[in-house]
Amino acid sequence: MQTEMNLGSDDRQTVLVCCGTGCTANGGREVFNAFETSLQDHPEIQVLPVVKATGCNGWCEKGPLVRLLPRDITYCSVAPADVDEIINKTLLDGVLVKRLLYRDPVSKEHLTSHHLTDFYRKQHKIALRNIGEIDPGQIDDYVQRGGYQALQKALLGMKGQEVIDTIKASGLRGRGGGGFPTGQKWQACRNASGNTKYIICNGDEGDPGAFMDRSIMEGDPHTVIEGMILGAYAVGASHGYIYVRDEYDLAVQYLRKAVDDARQRGYLGNNILNTGFVFDIDLIRGGGAFVCGEETALIASIEGRVGEPHDKYIFPTEKGLWGKPTVINNVETWANVPVIVLHGPASFAAIGTANSKGTKVFSLVGKVVNTGLVEVPMGTTLREIIYEIGGGVLKKRSFKAVQTGGPSGGCIPAELLDLPIDFDSLTEAGSMMGSGGLIVMDDRTCMVEVARYYVNFLAGESCGKCTPCREGIRALLEILTRISEGQGSIGDLDLLEDISFTMQQASLCALGRTAPNPVLSTLRYFREEYLEHIEQHRCPAGVCRALSIFYIDPEVCNGCGVCARHCAVNAIQGEKKQAHVIDESICIHCGECYRQCAFDAIKLR
C-alpha cells in the first residue's frame, strides 16, 4: 500500500510548518509567517524553498513542528525567533540545529526526523496518510499524492456495485463508534427503492478530548470529499452533507475551500469527470450537543428539527434524511475509502484482525509520556500503544487503567494490557472502540470518580427524551456522588447494576444504552475500590476529598518543601531539609501535595 511518505517530486526544498489547531495555539502561524518574510531577505537563494502550512502531525505536545524536505528533518517547539537560525544553518548550510531536534529520553540521542521516534515508528498511516505532508488548502497537493485517482478509477472503470463489493471485501467497518460494516450499509442504501438518496459525513465529534476527525477535516479535507463522492457513486446519491461540529472553525474553512476547488476541477457538480454523474456537497454546522452526533438526531438536526434521536427500527439506509435512503459515515471512515478503492481491498484487508480490518486513529492522552494522535493497525495491543508509542506512564508511576471510547466506553485494567484491540475485543472487555479516545490513568486515579465524571458529562449531554437514560443517568450520578462522599451503602452497588441493566436494554439510542459502561466496567475490574469507599470510607487514590486524609511520613520526607509551596491554604509547615507536617485543621484534602511530592512521602490514612 502506498501510504509511505512521498518526499516531493523534485529536489526543491520544502518547509512544512504545522499549523494544526495545537501548533497554531502555540504560535505555529507566527512561525509560518516568519519563514515567509525571512526568506524574502535572502536574495542570494536562487530557488526559494516552498513554505507550506500543514494540518496536525498528531504530536501537538512537541509543537510547533517544522519539517524540512527533502532531507526529512523535524524541528520541535519552534519559535519565530528560531526561524533565522533554521534558514541560515539548515536551509543554506545544511547544518542541523541540534537544540530543536527531538531527544530520545532513553537513548539520549538527537533524532533528525520525527519518523525515527518511537511515537511514529510503530504507526501505520492510512486515514492520516496526507496530514502534515500537504497544505490542506491546496487541491494540487492532494492530487500530487494520488488524490482523486480513486475517483477516476471508479467513475471511468467500475460499476457502482463493484465499488460496494470492493468496500465489502476490504472489511472496512465504521470508525464513528459502532463499527458497522460499511459495505453492508452501502448495499442496503443501494438496494433501497427511490431515486433520491443522500450521503452524510458525520463530523460532529462530541467526545470530550477527541480530535481525530477534526484533524482529518483540517489536515486533509479532500480525502473526506473524495470518499463521499465514491460513496455517492456506489449507492446512487446525488447530494451529500458534511455535518461539522460547531466549534471547528478551521475545519469548516478548509472544507468549504476544498468543496469549491473540487467543484471547479469537475470532481463535484453536474457532470463529474464528464461522465454525467451528478453529486454535490453542502456543509452544515453542528447543533452543539454530544447527542447530535447520533445519526437519527443528526438527521433531525439537518432537517431543522430538534436534535433528538428516534427509534431506528427502520434504518436510515432505507428512510433517512427527509425520509430518503441515506448513508451516514464517520469522517475517518470516509478518509479510508479512496485508499481502498485505489489500491484494491486486499492490501487493506491484510492489515488488522480477523473481523476488524485496517487501522484506527486514537487520541492518546492522560498520564502517558507521549500524547497525541496515533494511527495503528487494528489488533495492536494496549501495551504497544501505551508503552512503545506512548513511552509509558508519566513520572514512572504505575499504570492503573486505560479508558477507551469516551463516555460510551469503559476502563480496562492492567491485566488486559496485552489485549489486541479491535471493535470486538474492546466490547468484550466491557468497553468500546467509540471514536478512539485512549486515556491512560495511573495509580492516583480514583475509579469511582472516573465513572462519576463520565456520567456527569452525559447528564448534560443526553437529550433527555427517554426515561431510562435521563432518569437513569440522574440516579447513577446521585449514587456515585454519594459513594465518593463516603455516604454509600452496599446496596448501592446492586442499585447501580439494576439501573444500568434497564438503561442498556431499554434506552432509545446508543447514548443511553452505553452510558452505564464507565460504571459497569469500573465495577467489574475495580469493585474492591468501590467497597473501600463504602466500607472503609477511604479513597485509595487520594482523590475523593471527603475520604482522603493525608499525612507526611517523617521517615521518608526530605524536607524539599515542594508540597508546602503547592498547598493552596498553607496547611503544610516545616523547616528546609526537615520533615514537614500537615496541619489537619487547615487541610482541605485537595490532594495537591500528595500529587506533587516526588518521594512518595505523603501518605493516605
Binding site: 443526553s462 437529550c463 433527555g464 427524551k465
Partner: protein, 246 residues
C-alpha cells in the same frame, strides 16, 4: 401477516406498530407516552416487549409503540426482563411524581423500590411529552421541552406567558399525572402563567371555554357561532339529527 403474541396467532396490518396490534387485540401493554391521536414517541420506554422476527436467531427488546411490523414475528409482552425494565422505569418516574395516585399505584403493582423524591417543574411531570403533542395538535405549539439531559422540562418559551397559548387546557386534559395546573375561578382561567376570561354557555350558563379558544376555533371553521358547552352541544346535535330524520 401472521404475528404470534404470547403464543397466540394474530393478524397484523403491514407497517402497523406492535402496540397498535396489541391494542386492537386487547393485549395489555403499559404506556406513558403513547396516545391514539399522536402515535408512539418512544420516549417513556414502558412499552418494551420482546420480538423475534423471521430469520432472526435471538429475540430482542424493542419499544412496542414505535416498532413497525413488516414480517412474520413472535412477540412476548411479559417476561422477567420486561418486568424488570418496567419496574425500574416506574421506580425512576415515581420520584418525579411524589404523591401522584397513578405512580403510587404502579409502584405498588410492580413492587418498585422507593427512591427519594426529586423536585421537578411542573410538579409531578414525568416528561411523557403528551402535552406538547396535544398543543401541537390544537395548532398552537405554545409549549415545548426546554433544556436537555437531566434538566429537561416542559415550559412555555422562556417561561413567559405565551402568545400562542389560547388557554384551551388540552395539554392539561391529556396529562397522565395532572401536572399542568389549571386554576378556574368564576369567569377566569389561569394556565401556563397566563390568565384568560371564560365564556359561558348560552344555554346552560356554565363557563366552558376561553374567548381566545372560541375565536381560534371559529376562524378555523369548526363549530357554529352558537356558544354552547360540550354537554349542550351534544344535546343540540342530537336534537338536530332527530329533526333532520323526521
Amino acid at each position: 401477516m401472521k404475528i404470534t403474541v404470547n403464543g397466540q396467532e394474530r393478524e397484523a396490518h403491514a407497517g402497523e406498530s406492535i402496540l397498535d396490534l396489541c391494542r386492537r387485540e386487547g393485549i395489555p401493554i403499559p404506556t406513558f407516552c403513547y396516545h391514539q391521536a399522536f402515535g408512539g414517541q418512544g420516549a417513556c420506554r414502558m412499552c418494551m416487549v420482546e420480538i423475534k422476527e423471521d430469520g432472526q436467531s435471538r429475540s430482542r427488546l424493542v419499544a412496542a409503540c414505535t416498532y413497525p411490523l413488516t414480517k412474520t414475528a413472535e412477540i412476548i409482552t411479559e417476561s422477567e426482563q420486561i418486568q424488570r425494565i418496567r419496574r425500574t422505569i416506574v421506580m425512576l418516574l415515581a420520584r418525579r411524581a411524589g404523591e401522584n395516585p397513578l405512580l403510587e399505584e404502579l409502584s405498588r403493582a410492580y413492587g418498585a423500590a422507593h427512591l427519594p423524591a426529586i423536585t421537578v417543574e411542573p410538579a409531578n411531570c414525568i416528561l411523557c411529552g403528551l402535552c406538547i403533542h396535544a398543543c401541537a395538535e390544537m395548532g398552537r405549539s405554545a409549549i415545548w421541552s426546554m433544556f436537555r439531559g437531566v434538566d429537561k422540562r416542559i415550559a412555555t418559551p422562556y417561561d413567559e406567558a405565551s402568545d400562542d397559548c389560547m388557554g384551551c387546557a388540552a395539554c392539561a386534559r391529556v396529562c397522565p399525572t395532572q401536572a399542568i395546573k389549571v386554576e378556574e375561578e368564576d369567569a377566569v382561567r389561569k394556565i401556563w402563567n397566563k390568565t384568560f376570561a371564560l365564556v359561558s354557555c348560552s344555554r346552560c350558563g356554565k363557563y366552558y371555554a376561553t374567548r381566545e379558544e372560541l375565536e381560534y376555533l371559529s376562524k378555523h371553521g369548526d363549530f357554529g357561532q352558537q356558544q354552547l358547552c360540550e354537554t349542550c352541544r351534544k344535546k343540540n346535535l342530537a336534537y338536530n339529527i332527530k329533526t333532520f330524520q323526521q
